[in-house]
Amino acid sequence: MNRLWKEFSKGLWKDLPPFKIVLGLCPVLAVTKTAYNGLGMGLAVIFVLTLSNLLVSLLRKAIPAKVRIACFIVVAASLVVCVELLMQAYAYPLYLQLGIFVPLIVVNCIILGRAEAFASKNPTHLAVADGLGMGIGFALSLTFLGSVREMFGYGTWFGMELAGDWYEPFAFMIEAPGAFVCLGLVLAGMNALTNWQRRTRGLEAIEGPIHDCKTCGLCATKPRI
């Protein structure tokens, strides 16, 4: 039980994607114009990540090591097709808003990274806990970033009016430059927080999350398909 909680909770703060493990940046930047879009994308990722971890973990003894990356991609892609069809049926406006980034969930490094680094080596219940925790962490981060950008960019939160007529929205925040700068500042804030915690414990400051594609483990293992 302890182990289960540990694997679940690490995605919520210690290894929080995408702020602590800098992975899957494209949806993070693209769909966080509003908090609602961010949450919608987050929910889609929770669905795909949890089920892909479950399936990969169940199949981990059956998948030959040489073609494992191809197998992970097939599992992730089938789940993404399910999400696409479900969203077309039940959340069509959101599907149109997210556009090309729904099919692109399949190349989100988090999905393949967790399959390779965790689910293919651990029993099923731990893999599901890991996927759920990471997915919820990702969804919360996207909602947070979406909230910040929506508040500054439109003066609203989940469509609710926050400021009066006097408020002049920053159009900058909802366009591409705002997305990059906002994510950069949030990452810097996370680094500052980590360093402040380290200093109170008498440790030296570090540079923080260094973005490296190798963190997803996929590139490091060189897919043999």
């Binding site: 089938s78 692109l104 950069g184 973005h211 590139c219 897919p223």
Partner: protein, 191 residues
């Protein structure tokens, strides 16, 4: 649509990284040195063009006639994954010097959303085969341009004194934001 507009729009107006948010992981991850950035950029141009042309044929001659368009995502990613593997093997055997300079970037490209993104955009915009090829070369060139410029900026920034918390990825993202702001000036030029 005339081809010149298509090229200008793909490189500057709708730059794949700075305006369309595609391929950001390699954009931040491989922009530490300009040599690496050029290699990665060339690999993306090469693979994206081949992938877009092949997926166009797959969509036109396999998925549409058999009414399987809902399988687009899974088919495209499998085509791209096997294509990357095939290109790697081919270059290793046939053109070893090119393999030496591009080889290490090829495995990274399977999960590069710019490649799958370009293939899907071409389908959604209903381009012809020639338009698809021109669009993907231009988009790849736009990716390379953004990557090389960011790498050059970051090489200079290494010498600057920056607060510890901003160093590395956060500063690279803010720089990307400023570049994106500059590219924003092209908005509305060619639509």
């Amino acid at each position: 649509m005339d081809y010149f507009t298509l090229v200008i729009a793909a490189i500057f107006v709708n730059n794949i990284v700075l305006a369309q948010y595609l391929g950001n992981c390699p954009f931040i991850g491989t922009s530490k040195e300009s040599g690496v950035a050029i290699g990665m950029g060339l690999a993306v141009v090469f693979v994206a063009t081949m992938a877009a042309a092949i997926t166009w044929c797959v969509q036109r001659f396999l998925l549409v006639p058999f009414d399987l368009a809902y399988l687009q995502t899974i088919t495209f990613i499998l085509v791209i994954a096997s294509l990357v593997q095939f290109v790697e093997m081919f270059l290793k055997k046939a053109v070893p010097p090119l393999y030496k300079s591009l080889g290490i970037f090829l495995p990274l490209i399977t999960t590069n959303c710019a490649v799958l993104g370009i293939a899907i955009i071409c389908q959604r915009e209903e381009y012809t085969l020639l338009q698809t090829i021109i669009f993907s070369i231009a988009s790849g060139a736009g990716f390379m341009l953004a990557l090389v410029v960011l790498a050059s900026i970051r090489e200079r920034l290494d010498l600057a004194r920056v607060p510890t918390s901003l160093r590395g990825t956060p500063l690279a993202l803010i720089m990307a934001g400023l570049m994106s702001l500059a590219f924003f000036a092209f908005k509305g030029m060619a639509s």
